[in-house]
Amino acid sequence: MDRRTFLLQSGKLLVLSAPAAIAWEHVLAGEPQAAPNYQASDHWWAMIVEIEKCIGCGSCVRACKAENDVPDEPYFFRTWVERYRINPEDPEHPIVDSPNGGFDGFPPVPDEQGAWKSFFVPKLCNHCVDSPCEQVCPVGATFRSPDGVVLVDADYCVGCRYCVQACPYGCRFIDPRTHTADKCTLCYHRISKGLTTACCETCPTSARRLADLKNPADPIHEFLRTNKVQVLKPQMATRPKVYYNDLDGSVR
């Protein structure tokens, strides 16, 4: 074996050694199905939100805070609901409010004069395919899992706040207890056990529905084909995976 061949071979072995070693560990332990790249590759998670079904009861916000140990103080939300009220004489400037993220529902508004249009918009992390937060993270603490969920590694996060700034949807916050970034995980601990997310579980009108784009039997395929579906801020080219039906053009 000449020197060039030796260097090429050892270089290849060096590059492949880490994942191969991990996979080999699992094989030696007698559980090849737990080796890397087996789990999660069968799913590509998304969510459907139907604006016309949302009644602004706040069950999803309460469920999310209870399920994921989100601080109860205002301004810390993994999911929240906004109310839009549009004056027909000034449709470009909707009035938007979200008292405590919709946690306690919404107070009634004074009866509007004329044909105002008002509706609720639930919001959460869009789990973008090309997420800006993932790009700006200097330590690889925020990442997109093989099944399409954008997660935060709290052990690795240094709390620099670049991702909070970078997210165009305002979905991130700094947890005041750990001083690390926090955000919607799409209830990863639930969907990996076959359950739906906490907000989908508790929505009384099923305005939210978890969807798996890699499952050909999932109703989302028919839904996307037969409805006028929109995503938030498509001009940002982040390729979000939360699909909104009946979304008004004034929603930001």
Binding site: N37, I55, Y84, F120, R144, Y188, R190, T202
Partner: protein, 151 residues
């Protein structure tokens, strides 16, 4: 001939410094970067396991119907059949596991969360002004949440 490289000792020292620096970098990287970093991408693969192993707080509909079959039968003909139990009762995974008592929500506050009339709700959704509609009485005087309709 020897004149050109009479100061070659400097090159040797620089090479030594570079080698020491590279060695130090590799050692530091090996110590600070977890072994599973980069398995799937630019992140620590163990973080997926950490995220997946957190405890479940909402047990889900299935965990309720395993025991409360009678409630399922009561709800089936009503308009709340599609509403899941934890929408009103709150998280109950601990109760399903036998570690906590069940919680009955307060009807004075529960029903108005959804059914209080507001213009932002869909027009077809059943909603009332509770002050006018109930006259101060609780909703459960006339309606049963498991199968609403006037009883």
């Amino acid at each position: 001939m020897g004149f050109k490289f009479q100061d070659y000792e400097h090159l040797l020292r620089l090479a030594g410094l570079f080698a020491a620096g590279i060695f130090l970098f590799l050692i530091t990287q090996a110590v600070l970067v977890p072994a599973d970093f980069g398995t799937y991408g630019h992140y620590r693969a163990g973080a997926l396991e950490v995220a997946a192993k957190k405890p479940v707080v909402h047990g889900g509909e299935r965990s309720c119907v395993e025991c409360h079959e009678d409630v399922v039968a009561t709800r089936a003909p009503g308009r709340h059949a599609a509403v899941r139990c934890e929408s009103c009762h709150g998280p109950h995974a601990a109760h399903a596991a036998g570690e906590a008592a069940g919680v009955k929500p307060n009807p004075a506050k529960l029903c108005v969360r959804c059914h209080e009339q507001t213009s932002a709700r869909p027009a077809a959704f059943p909603q009332v002004k509770s002050a006018d509609h109930a006259g101060g009485e609780t909703c459960t005087t006339c309606h049963q949440p498991h199968a609403p309709g006037v009883s």
